[in-house]
Amino acid sequence: MDVSIKWDEEFFICLEQNLKQNINLASWDEFNMAYETVKSKQIRDFDELMTLDYLPHVKFLPHQIHSAKKVLTMMNGRALLADEVGLGKTIEAGLILKEYMLRGNIKKALILVPASLINQWVNELNQKFYIPAVASRKKMDWEMQEIVVTSLETAKRETNQKIILEQKYDLVIVDEAHKLRNKKTKNFNFVQALQKKYCLLLTATPMHNQIEDIFNLINLLKPGYLGDYNSFSQRFADGESSKHYVRQLIENVMIRNRRTDTEMNPSKRHIETIWVNPSNEEKEYYQLLESKLPSNSPFGNIIYKREFCSSIEACYVSLQKLLAKEEDLSKKEVISKLIEDITKIPKFTKAKKLAELLSNKKEKFIIFTEYHATQQALLALLIQNGIKAVPFRGGFKKSKKDYMKHLFEHYADVLVATEAAGEGINLQFCNHLINYDLPWNPMKLEQRIGRIHRFGQDKDVYIYNFALKETLEEDIVHLLYKKLHLFENVIGGLDKILEQLNMKDLEHMLNHIYSTSKTTGEAKIKIENISTILDSFTQERMPHSNAN
C-alpha cells in the first residue's frame, strides 16, 4: 500500500540562510529544551484523549468521555449529539474541539448558538477548555479570527454571509440544531453551504413529530446521502438491504445518552403541589366562563379558563381582545358583562398564596408562567411585597437577557419568566422553581425544569406546582404530574413512551377532549382513560417515586 510522504522543506532553506548570516542560532541548552518540549507534546496513542491530561481542573463524566471518543474515532468528527437535556452536550462538544485542536486537526472553527448563549459558550470555552474563542462583533474579521462564536441570525446577515461562506472551517458546531430540522429554511441552507471538515450538531430533540426531521439533520452531516425524503422512504420500504444501510448511517452519526444510562448522580428533585382553594367569587366566575362565554374557536372557552387559572389579568386581556373581534351584538354584551365581573373579583387567591410562600424564603426562585399578562401582574405583586423581581422573556434582546440574568444572579430574589424563556438560559445557581401555571405539553415542562436542573447543578432542586382546585388545573395535575410522575423523571423517557403510543401531541389531545366533551364529568372520564393507559406504561418503565 502506498502512502504519500511530505517533507517540511522550508527548514533546510532557513537553516542554510541562518548559518550563512550567523543569526538565530540556538545554544546547546535551548536546543535540548526544544527537543524535550516537542517530545512532551507528542501525540502517541490513537485511542486516548490527550485533553484529559491538559485539563486537570475539569471533571468529565464517563459518558462525556465516551461520547467524545466515539465521535473522534468512529464518527470522524461528524456527529449529531442528541443527549437528553442536562447531560452536558456543550461539554462533549468542547472536549471534541479541544482534542482536535491538541492533535492539530482544527485551527479554524465556527460555533453557531442562540444569541442568548453566545457569552456562555465563549466563557466556557475560554475558562474551562482554554480555547481562545471570541464572540462575533459588529465589525468582524471573519478571515483572521480562528474560533468564533456567533448566532445563526448574525452569520446569515447579508454583510457576513458572503465572507463566511468563503471561509474554510475545520469545524462547525450548531447548538440547538433542531432549528435546522426543516430543510426548506434559510437556516438549513446556510449551514449546508458552509465549508466544513468536521461538523457537530447539538440538540436534545432531534426528532419532533416525524422521522424526516432526523433525516434532514443527517443530511447536513452526510450531504445527499438520503436523497430526497420521498425517494428515501420509498426505498426504505423496499427491504432489508436498504434498512441495513440506513441503520448504519444513523449509527454512524448519532449519539444519544439518556439520563438513565449514564453514571451521573443527579441532584434530587423535591416536588410539592400547592393546592389553592378558589374563593367563592372565583368559583362563581369560573362557572360563568364555562356556561356563558360564547365559543367561536374549535377549543371553545378552554383558553379563557386556562388563563383564568393563571391570573385575572391574563383572562381580562384575552376577553378584551375577544370583545374587540366580536361583531354579534348580543354576544358582545355577554362578553362586556364578563369583563365587568372579572374586575370585581378581589385579590386573586393564587397570587396571595404565592406572596405567602415567598415571604419567608431566603433562596432565589424562578417563577414560570405561560402568559405575559400574568408575568406583569406577578412582577407588580412581588415588588409591592418588597421582593426584588426581574422579568425574563424570549423576546428580549440578547444584551437584555444577559443583564436580567446578571441581575437575578447578583441582586434580585425572583425571576419571573414566560415560556419562551425556556430555551437559552442556564440558571444553575438557582434551585427553586415555581410552576405558577402548568403547561400541557410535557416538552415545555422539560425545558422549564431544564433551566435549573441540569449538568452543573449540585444542589437538590425544589419544584412547586400551583394549582387551582375544582378547575382544569386539577385534572391536569392529576394526569400529567401524578400519573406520569413527570416531575420525578426526566422527560426523555416519557418522550419515548408517547412516541410508542402515538400520543406525541398530548396538548392537542387534551384540548380536543375538553372541547368535545359535553360535561366536565365526561372530560374527566376521558382523561382518566388516557392516564390509565399511560400509567400502566410508566409503571413498568420508570422507577417509582415517593413524591406527593
Binding site: 500500500m1 541548552d29 535540548n32 529544551m33 516537542v38 490513537f46 450531504p223
Partner: protein, 269 residues
C-alpha cells in the same frame, strides 16, 4: 516522555533566558523577567512600543507561577499546568528559539584539534488518517563517510557543545554537501517507513472505502444535479481519511565533534 518535573523545566527556561529567580518555594516560583522575555510572554506590545518611542527603559514584569496540583483561588500567581495557555506560549517560544544550530564540541586541550562534521536532524513524523499519531526520530549523518545513525540525541547528550569554535580547534569541511545530505536523510526515512507496520494506514483506508461505499449507495440513483456534490464529498472523505505522512523538522543543524567523540558515536551504533 512528558516533562516530569515541570518546575525544574520552567526554572531552566527562565535561567537560560537570563531571568532572575526571586522566589523559589515548593509550589511557587517568582521570576523577574528580562525585557526580551516580557515582550515575548506578557502581551503588552503597546507598553514597549511607547517606552521605545519615549526613549525610556521599560520595567519588565515579575511573573509568579503557582504549580499546585489544583487550582487554588487563594494562591497568588498564575496556575500553570500542562494545559495552561501560558505554558504553551512558553513551549512555542522554546521551539522557535531552539530550532537552528551549529555546534562545536567543547574541549580543554590546547593542542590543534580537528573536528568532524555531522548533520543532526530531529524529526517529527506525523501519521495522518482516521486518527493522528506522531513519532519522533533523531538522526545524525556523518558528513565525511555518509553513515546515518538514529537515536542520535541519546548518543550526544553526555557531551557539551558551544556555538563558537574553540581557538585551537578547526572544523573539517564536509565532503557531503547539504543538498546531498538532505537527500540521504530522505532516503533513509523513506526506507524506514516502507518497512513499517502499516496497520494504521490499512484501517484508515478500509474506513475510507466503507464510507465511499455508503456514499455510492445513497447516490447511485441520484440525479445528475448531485454529481458535483458527490465529487466534493469524495474529495472531503479523501482529505479526511486517506492515510498520509507529513514530516516536520523539530530542529537540527551542524555538529562538529572531536575524533574521540566521533569514534565513540560510531562504536556505539
Amino acid at each position: 516522555m512528558p516533562i516530569n518535573n515541570l518546575k525544574k523545566f520552567l526554572i531552566d527556561y527562565f535561567i537560560i533566558n537570563q531571568c532572575t529567580i526571586i522566589e523559589n518555594e515548593k509550589n511557587k516560583i517568582t521570576v523577574k523577567l528580562t525585557q526580551d522575555l516580557d515582550e515575548k510572554l506578557m502581551n503588552r506590545p503597546f507598553y514597549w512600543h511607547y517606552m521605545k518611542k519615549l526613549n525610556k527603559i521599560g520595567e519588565p514584569k515579575k511573573l509568579t507561577i503557582n504549580l499546585g496540583s489544583e487550582q487554588n483561588p487563594q494562591a497568588d500567581g498564575e496556575w500553570i499546568h500542562f494545559g495552561s495557555p501560558r505554558l504553551h506560549q512558553i513551549f512555542n517560544h522554546i521551539e522557535e528559539q531552539g530550532k537552528y544550530v551549529r555546534f562545536f564540541e567543547k574541549i580543554k586541550s590546547s593542542n590543534q584539534t580537528p573536528l568532524n562534521p555531522w548533520l543532526v536532524l530531529n524529526l517529527k513524523i506525523n501519521y495522518l488518517g482516521e486518527n493522528n499519531k506522531e513519532e519522533i526520530v533523531s538522526l545524525g549523518l556523518q558528513l565525511i563517510n555518509g553513515a546515518i545513525y538514529s537515536n542520535f540525541m541519546e548518543k550526544i547528550k553526555q557531551y557539551s557543545f558551544d556555538k563558537n569554535c574553540h581557538d585551537y580547534c578547526y572544523p573539517i569541511t564536509p565532503l557531503i554537501k547539504q543538498e546531498s545530505a538532505v537527500n540521504r536523510v530522505y532516503k533513509f526515512i523513506h526506507h524506514y517507513l516502507k518497512n513499517q507496520e502499516l496497520e494504521w494506514a490499512r484501517k484508515s483506508n478500509d474506513r475510507l472505502q466503507k464510507e465511499m461505499e455508503l456514499l455510492e449507495y445513497f447516490f447511485n440513483e441520484a440525479s445528475s444535479s448531485n454529481l458535483s456534490t458527490i465529487d466534493q464529498e469524495k474529495k472531503l472523505l479523501k482529505d479526511r481519511l486517506e492515510p498520509k505522512i507529513k514530516i516536520d523538522i523539530i530542529n537540527g543543524g551542524y555538529f562538529y565533534v572531536t575524533n574521540t567523540t566521533n569514534k565513540n558515536i560510531l562504536a556505539n551504533a
